[in-house]
Structure formats: C-alpha cells, structure tokens
Amino acid sequence: MASADPKRVLTGSHYLDGDHACTEGALSAGCDFVGGYPITPSTEVVERFAARVPKVGGTFIQMEDEIASITAVLGAVWGGAKAMTVTSGPGFSLMMENIGLGAMLETPCVVVNVQRGGPSTGLPTMVGQSDIMQARWGSHGDYEIIALAPQSPQEAYYLTIDAFNLSEQYRVPVMVMLDECIGHMTERVVIPEASEIEITPRRMTDAAVGEYLPYKVGADMIPAMAHAGDGHRYHVTGLTHDERGYPVMSAECHDGLVRRLCDKIRDNADEIVRLEEDGVDGCEVAVICYGITSRVTRAAIDGARANGVKVGCIRLLTIWPFCETRIRELAPEVKAFVVPEINYGQLSLEVERCAAGQAKVTLVPHMGGNVHDPADIQRAIEEAAR
C-alpha cells in the first residue's frame, strides 16, 4: 500500500458537487489520464479534470466519441497510466463493447456513470438509477465487474478512490454509479491529508525479460501486468487466450479463462461487498437501497419506525458483486424486503433471486426525473410488515 501524492490531493474542506468530488477522488487516487466525451450530467467531472491536470500532472483528451474514450483509457493503462472515463446512460451503452475488452484483457480502469433517466436520450438533466443491470450485464459474454454507488459528494470522493484501488487489486474495470442528484448536489466534502489516503499499487510483474507470461496466475487468480515499453514484448488479445496471451480457440481454454475472469470476483465477493446496515438485526422488514434513494428512504424508515414497524436498512455501497450472502442469510429471518429504486425494477430482481421465495420482495419503483416521495416508500414498508 502506498499513500497518495500530496501535489494532487486538495486537502481541506470544500463545497463540491458529486461530479467535482469524483474528480478530486480520481486525482487523489493518482489518476493521470482521462479520455472523455461530454454528456449531461457527467461532463463536470472531465471539465474539472481538464482544468486541474495541466497543473498537477496528467493528460486529458476529449475524444471524438465515447467508444474512443473508453478505448483510449484502456490503451493508456497498458501504456502505464491510471485512467478513467466518465459518462451517462447513452455513452455507457456505447462503451459496452470495450468495457468487455477491458474485462477480457484484465485492464484496471474506472468508468464513472452519472445515471440519468432512460432509456435512449431519456431525461438528460434528471435523475435515474436505471443502468444498474447494465453495469453488470452490459457487454456480451460472461465476465464480472465491480460497481460502487455513493450517496453523497463526500462518498463520491471516497468511493472513486476505492474504485481505483479495487480495479488494481482485481485487474478489472470498476464502475462508479453516481446518479444525477448526487452528481449535481453541492455539499461539504472534506479531503484528508495525502498521507491518510491508501493507494493500492498496480500489480506489476517481476519476471525476467523473456519469461513474462501475461496471464499466468497463482492461487488468487490475478495475473501480474507489464506496460508497453517495459521490455517484455508481450502480446495480448481480446480473443480467448492462454497464459501466454496468445489466442487459443479451444473449448478447454475458453472454459478456464471464463471461469477465472468470473471467479476472481465471485470468490472474493464477501471481501469486496460493502454494506451499511442500520437496525437489521431482528427486523421484520429490511429495506435495500442505494445512491440518492437511500437518503430519501431515511425519512420513510423514520416514519415507519414511529408507527411501530421493526424496519432495518441495508444500504449498498457495492452494487456489484451483489450482496448475495447477506440476502440469503436474511431471507428466512425477515417477512419482506422492500427495494425502492429509481427504475422499474432492477436491483429488486437480484434481491428476489437471492431471497429464493423465503421472503416477499416489494419493489417501490419510480421511473425517474426526480426522487421518490418518501410516503410511498413508507407505505410499502408498512404494508410489507403486515
């Protein structure tokens, strides 16, 4: 573990919106390359980065489209940078093929999605949380990624740093799923001293020249990386490959590769997943929430408790991998799960799957454009408790 570079860390107390806080998180984490493309409501992230890096070090380039942005990010990482791109729904969709390439090449990078109302052009300036499933399943094929969901600008700062650290640890693209409310709300953001910020270093190979195998792994299933220009002269490809990095089109090789790409996350899910729980032990109804909805849910929970309902709250800081273990554990103990989200049912499907019929799952949908009325969530909690 190293600590952050003081030149890049804006230590102090600031009023920042979520987008700007995300930029500061990236800079604190050591991000020195952003390939971006403007899209509301995420543009401020790259605007701030473009303004800051010529002074603190790094490169910003506005690419010609989102596909170029994510691909440039991948190239930059292989060239030695710590890289991030930023977008919203429509751009996220465009990036999917190359997010898949990032997962296949095992490229550590961060993709920020400041979610807005969808589908298609939808509500460019208004909130949504409807890219949740897409973050997990957006690209074709079997692979796993990690996705985090902050609920405040302060958390946007910290979770962006965590995203970089997780991406380096697991060699996987990590999404930071803000939403337009968090992205555009201005709150106090306290940025600590650089020495207090832990940075996970990139796992680089120590193999001698001529002996490096790009995808050779040990028990933890995570290979060591080499950058272009390090002298190893390796080859990597998006085709199914073996540990040499060479394409091998065989069912056997494919089986091994796909399992490893997925298992390196699945088998470590319990370490990766972070939840914030309140009053869950012994509760009758457990509310599962994330992002801006978790703040709205506070009012609903307080109201329900005042009416005598034993309701607990599980706030997901990690959306993917999903907290399966916790839900499976709780399902036999609770009457119901209530899942408020600004979409027509995405995370609730995961909750249902893991509850496996042992508890009722009530979705409280809200299509987007603004946040829930807490009364709707409270009503759902109280009905679920009956």
């Binding site: 380039i61 190239g75 292989w78 080859h235 490809t237």
Partner: protein, 299 residues
C-alpha cells in the same frame, strides 16, 4: 535441397515464430507487407523495447499477434484510439497501428479522421485488399464498382474512398501508397513513415486470394498481385483527391504527401505553456523541447 533448414529466418528476431505458419491464405498479400514492415523497423533503427503495435479485427488485424513487440489485438475499428491512449500515457513509445481497410475506414473511420486531425504521433499501416476477408468477403468502403462481394452479390455500386484524399483532408503529414509487390519502395515508405513525427499513413494495396480474387474471377492472389503492380503508375505528390481506385484500373502509387505540422503533444505543450507558464507541470520539459526545435531549425 529439399530438407528444411535448422537456421532461423533473418526476421525471426521480430516474429513470434512459435505461432507460425501464420493463418493467412497462400498468395495473400499481408505476409509480404508484414515483411516489409519488419525490414522498415530495422532500417529505421527503432528500439524494439520502446515500440508498441496495435491492430483491430480482420485478416490484417492478426498482424499484431505475429510481431514480437508489445502488441495489442483490440476490438474492431478501435485500434487507433487504443494507440492514442498508449501514446498519451508514454510519449516515448513508438506506436504503430496495423490494420485493414474495413477496420480503419468503415467502423474505425471516425477514429482515423480525428487522429489525423490531431496529428497524433502514430504510424498507421493500412493493408487495402478492397474487401472484408476474415468474415468471408463482404464489401468495404474501398470496394470498387462493380466488384462482386458477398454483400454485393449483384455487384458493388457505392463509390469507394480515396484513402489518401481522406487523410490529407484530415491533416495527416505523411501519406504513401504502394502495392504489396513494390517491396523495396514499400519498405522505404514505411521507414520514412516510422521516422516521421505526427500522423503518418501508408496504404499497401494487396491481393485477397480466397475471396476478392476468387469471387471476381481474377485468378490467384499471385495473378492479382502482379496485376496491381503492373497496372500501377508511380506519381509522387499526385493530387490526392483523384486517387480512388477503380475496379481493375490503374492504381496511382507513390509518396503523395510529406509535410510538417506540429504534433498533438507539441500543441498541447505549447498551449499550456502559453496559458499557465511555469504553473504547467511540464513547463521545463516543454521549454526544452521548444528550444530544441528552434535549434534544429536554425542548424
């Protein structure tokens, strides 16, 4: 002597010979272009450890897998932004994009024109065989009318790109075209392109034996390669607007453009030095580079 030699091929030092024989068809032009490229790398005296080669998807896209440099086989059409990322992360890398006409000018078209506009310091080698070979012979933006391809089974009718014209309009600083049989001239152009700062583009017209030649009854790849060579006309500095290649007609080849323009890195440095002065984190290096340029011009 009909035995096989135990010696290594003279270009083995830059080839992943453990993966040979390569996948290209007999009489395909790509192998020859690759050979010219390897010769050019040596003639340009480039440091193998400071090079990176990126390719897209397609027959030519397989080149990255056979070259013993840091090589990246990326997604269809996206070799150029990947190469841009590499170059921006490490400006000391010599970055080459090696891909086909479809990968670069159809799906990759947007990236091609913007990299040229920016004068990104990369070298793009485009093997133009007028078709999408890997996927079974579909039409490409370079397919001339009325060629038969699997998606133009009644004959192609769209006008093809003049790639040199496209690239000149966008701002490339070096543009050349040869056929795959012009081995020595192609090698020379590739050498010049590799050494040229900024966006350099070399188009190598090559035969596709199994698909283009066969579907259009143009003989073997050998016959077609000879045809391209024998029907080419060397015209250095030709007007790029008139360089689209018509079906089985004269092909103008040569070095069409070799100009100077500041590269993306130079422009980036210059602008930030202007506005931020010593607050620019690269102020010292940028000033030194500018001084070197001035000295070089005066020398």
């Amino acid at each position: 002597m009909t035995g096989t030699t135990h010696l290594e091929h003279p270009q083995a030092h830059l080839l992943r010979t453990d993966r040979f024989p390569h996948i290209w068809c007999p009489t395909c032009g790509i192998g020859t272009v690759l050979k010219c490229f390897i010769d050019a790398v040596d003639k340009a005296e480039l440091d193998y450890d400071r090079m990176a080669i990126v390719s897209g998807i397609g027959c030519t896209g397989r080149v990255a897998g056979y070259v013993k440099l840091d090589s990246y086989h990326t997604t269809h059409g996206r070799a150029i932004p990947f190469a841009t990322g590499l170059k921006l992360a490490n400006r000391d890398l010599k970055v080459v994009v090696f891909s086909g006409d479809g990968d670069l000018s159809a799906i990759g078209g947007n990236h091609l024109i913007h990299a040229a506009r920016r004068n990104m310091d990369i070298t793009v080698v485009c093997v133009n065989n007028f078709i999408y070979g890997m996927t079974g012979g579909q039409a490409a933006p370079t397919t001339p009318s009325p060629a038969n391809t699997s998606t133009t089974p009644h004959g192609a009718y769209e006008p093809p790109f003049s790639l040199p014209s496209l690239l000149e309009a966008c701002g490339a600083v070096y543009i050349a075209r040869w056929t795959s049989l012009h081995v020595r001239r192609l090698t020379k152009s590739l050498t010049e392109a590799l050494l040229k700062p900024g966006f350099s583009f070399v188009e190598a017209v090559a035969p596709c034996s199994t698909l283009y030649a066969r579907r259009n009854r143009l003989g073997t790849g050998f016959d077609l390669m000879k045809f391209y060579h024998d029907h080419s006309c060397i015209e250095h500095d030709a007007e790029t607007a008139k360089l689209a290649i018509d079906y089985q007609k004269t092909i103008k080849v040569g070095r069409f453009l070799d100009i100077e323009r500041p590269t993306w890195h130079q422009l980036n440095d210059r602008q930030h030095l202007d506005t931020l002065g010593d607050d620019y984190y690269r102020a010292a290096e940028a000033k030194a580079a500018q001084q070197e340029e001035v000295d070089h011009v005066e020398a």
